[in-house]
Symmetry: C2
Subunit: 351 residues, 2 copies
C-alpha cells in the first residue's frame, strides 16, 4: 500500500510499504477513506522537532473496517468507523477514568505499540488498529459523504477543542476567550457555544478564520495580540476577565496571553502541545487563583457524545477543512498548511 513518511524538514513522501495484516486477535484492519494533516504534524515538517529517521505520520482518520481479529466482537467488515488519535485498551484504570491518553497499554499511530508491532500512520491507505473494539467507534450505517469532514474532526480537533472547554469548566452563561485560531481553536469556539457559553471571544488575525469562528458562534473577534489584545478583551469583559480561557496554541506567548485574560478564580483550559518551554508562572497563578487544566485530549471519551450531534446535524465542525486533495498530493496538503494557505487539509487515500 501507499503511506506517508516524514523524512526531514519540508520533506514528506508517499511511499510503498507493506500492507498491514492482523497481528493480534484484538486487531482490525481499516481502509482509510479520509485522513488529514494536524497542526502538530507541522512541527516535524518545519524541523522544530528533528527527524532522526524516516517515520510514518498522520494520526487522524475515518474509514471502513476491512478485516477483524478473532476476538473482535463489536465490529465487522464494512463498518464505517472513526478512530481517535490516541489508542487505549479501554479497560485499564486510566481508560476507565476517561483518560485514554494515559492508557498503560496505549499506542500511537505511526509508531510501534507496547508489543513492538508497528501501528500504521493515518496518512496511508490502510491501518492496523490495536484494541479495535475499544478504539473504533462505528456509525449506524454508511454516513453521507458530506458528513465525512465533520466525522473526521472527531478523531482529533473537535474532541481536542471540546477538551479545552470541558477542562476550563465552560457551562451555561460562561464568558470564554479562545486563544488560537487554528482548527482546534475554532472547534473550541464551537464546543463552548455547544456547552452554553454566553460570550465567546475569538482571538484571530485572519479573515478566513474569523469567518469560521463567527459561524461557530463567536460573539466577538479580537485581532490584537499581546498586552494590546489583553486590554481589548478585558474591556469587552468589563475589566473582570473571562471565566474560561481556552489555550489552543502551545507557545509561551499564547499561555501568557491566556493567563492574562483569565478572571481571578477562572480556568485556563489548555490543549496546545507545549512548545514554549516547560514552565508556568506559579506566582501569578497563586495570587489570582488562576487554575490551569487540560492536556493531551482523551478524544475517545468524547466521541460518542459528539458523534450524535454530528450525525443529527447539530454541529458541523468539518467546516475547518478548506483544502481537500488525494493522498498523492500529500506534499501540497502539508505545504498549504505550513504556508497558511489552508486552515486544515483533508486527504483522500482512496482517491
Amino acid at each position: 500500500m501507499r503511506a506517508t513518511l516524514l523524512h526531514g524538514a519540508h520533506d514528506v513522501r508517499l511511499e510503498d510499504v507493506p500492507d498491514p495484516v492482523l497481528q493480534l486477535p484484538t486487531d482490525a484492519i481499516v481502509r482509510v477513506t479520509a485522513a488529514c494533516v494536524c497542526g502538530s504534524d507541522l512541527w516535524g515538517y518545519r524541523g522544530v522537532r528533528p527527524v532522526k529517521e524516516p517515520r510514518r505520520v498522520g494520526h487522524e482518520l475515518v474509514g471502513v473496517v476491512e478485516e477483524v481479529g478473532s476476538q473482535v466482537t463489536s465490529l465487522r467488515p464494512g463498518d464505517f468507523v472513526i478512530a481517535p488519535f490516541a489508542l487505549g485498551d479501554g479497560t485499564c484504570a486510566h481508560c476507565r477514568n476517561g483518560i485514554w491518553t494515559s492508557c498503560v497499554r496505549g499506542a500511537a499511530w505511526g509508531a510501534p505499540d507496547k508489543d513492538g508491532l508497528l501501528v500504521d500512520g493515518a496518512q496511508g491507505e490502510y491501518v492496523r488498529t490495536p484494541f479495535a473494539d475499544a478504539n473504533l467507534v462505528a456509525t449506524p450505517g454508511l454516513p453521507d459523504d458530506a458528513l465525512v469532514p465533520s466525522l473526521l474532526t472527531l478523531s482529533d480537533v473537535m474532541g481536542t477543542g471540546h477538551h479545552a472547554a470541558v477542562s476550563a469548566r465552560v457551562g451555561p452563561g460562561s464568558t470564554v476567550v479562545v486563544v488560537g485560531d487554528g482548527a482546534v481553536g475554532l472547534c473550541a469556539v464551537l464546543a463552548s457555544r455547544r456547552l452554553g457559553a454566553a460570550r465567546v471571544i475569538a482571538m484571530s488575525r485572519h479573515a478566513d478564520r474569523q469567518a469560521i469562528a463567527r459561524e461557530f458562534g463567536a460573539t466577538d473577534i479580537v485581532a490584537e495580540r499581546g498586552a494590546e489584545g489583553a486590554a481589548v478583551v478585558r474591556d469587552l469583559l468589563d475589566g473582570v476577565g473571562a471565566d474560561a480561557v481556552l489555550e489552543c496554541v502551545g507557545t509561551r506567548e499564547s499561555m501568557e496571553q491566556a493567563l492574562d485574560v483569565t478572571r481571578p478564580g477562572g480556568y485556563v483550559g489548555y490543549v496546545g502541545v507545549p512548545a514554549g518551554g516547560p514552565e508556568l508562572p506559579i506566582g501569578t497563578m497563586f495570587s489570582g487563583n488562576l487554575n490551569v487544566a487540560g492536556g493531551v485530549a482523551p478524544v475517545r471519551t468524547y466521541l460518542p457524545e459528539l458523534l450524535a450531534e454530528v450525525l443529527d446535524g447539530t454541529i458541523n465542525p468539518g467546516r475547518v477543512f478548506d483544502l481537500e486533495v488525494p493522498l498523492g498530493q500529500v506534499g501540497e496538503a502539508y505545504a498549504a498548511m505550513d504556508e497558511r494557505r489552508a486552515v486544515k487539509s483533508l486527504l483522500r487515500p482512496q482517491a
Copy 2:
C-alpha cells in the same frame, strides 16, 4: 495598645502603638481575643523575605466588636466575630465570584488599605477592620471559650485547607493525598474527609502531626518523601495515583511530590505560598492531564459553611493549636513554631 512588629530575622517585638480609631463609616474596631502565628509569618521571621522596615504582623484573629462606623448595619458592639485573613469589599465582581482575595478594594492586615490608612496587624490588642459588614462574620451569641481555637482556624488555616480540597474537586469517594503536615495540611485532611473522600493519605514524618492527621480522618500515613514517598503512595493506590493531591507547603519539592502522585486527569489543589520558584512543568502536566488549581484561599467565602460545623461540633480544627501563650510571649510563639516545637501557636492578646 500593644501590637507585634517584625523588625528583622528572629526579631519580633511587642510595642506600644496608637489605638486604632474609626477612619471610615464602614469600619469597625475589634478587640482581639485570640490571634495566632501562621506558617507564612515564619518567612519574614526566618529572613527568607527580608524586612525593609519594622512592620505590623499577624493576619488571623477573632474578637469582640468594640465600635462600629455609621454605615455598619449588621454588627454591633459586643458581637463575637471571626475575621478572614484577606479583606474585601464584598461587592466587586471578584468578591461576587467568591474570590475575595482579588477584591479591587482589597486590604491586608498589617498594611495600608487602598485609601492609604493602616489596617492593624492581627497580633495586637485591637484592629481597625475596613468594610466591616462584609468581612466580619458574627457568631450567634458569645461562643464557649473551648470553641475559640476552632473558630480562629476559620480565619485562615481551615479555610485554606478547604480551598485546597475544593480546588482539587474532592468529593464523595475521592482518593486524596495531602502533602504537608503543618496546620494547613492537617486542616486539608479534615476538609477532605468532610467532603466525603474515601481515602486520605497524609504525608508526614512527625509523630505528633501524624496523630492529629489520624484524628482528622487520615486513613493512611506515609512518612517517606521524594521518589520513595511517591512509590509508597502509588502502591497504596494500586499504581494509579490519587484523584486529588493537596499541596500545602509551597516549595518546588512539595509541588513535584504532588504532581508525582496525581493520577492522569487528577487535580493538584495547591495553597502553599509558592516559595520554590516561578515554574510549573507544563510538559509533564500536559502529557498526564495533571490539572493544577488553587491559590491564595478566599476564606471569607467558606466561612459561613465551615462556621456552622464548628458551632455544632461536627469539626474541631482547633486541634492544630498545641501552644497557647499571652501576647506578651509572642516571641516564644514564633520561636516554638520556628523550631518545630509547636504546630501552631495561639496568642491571647487580652491575657
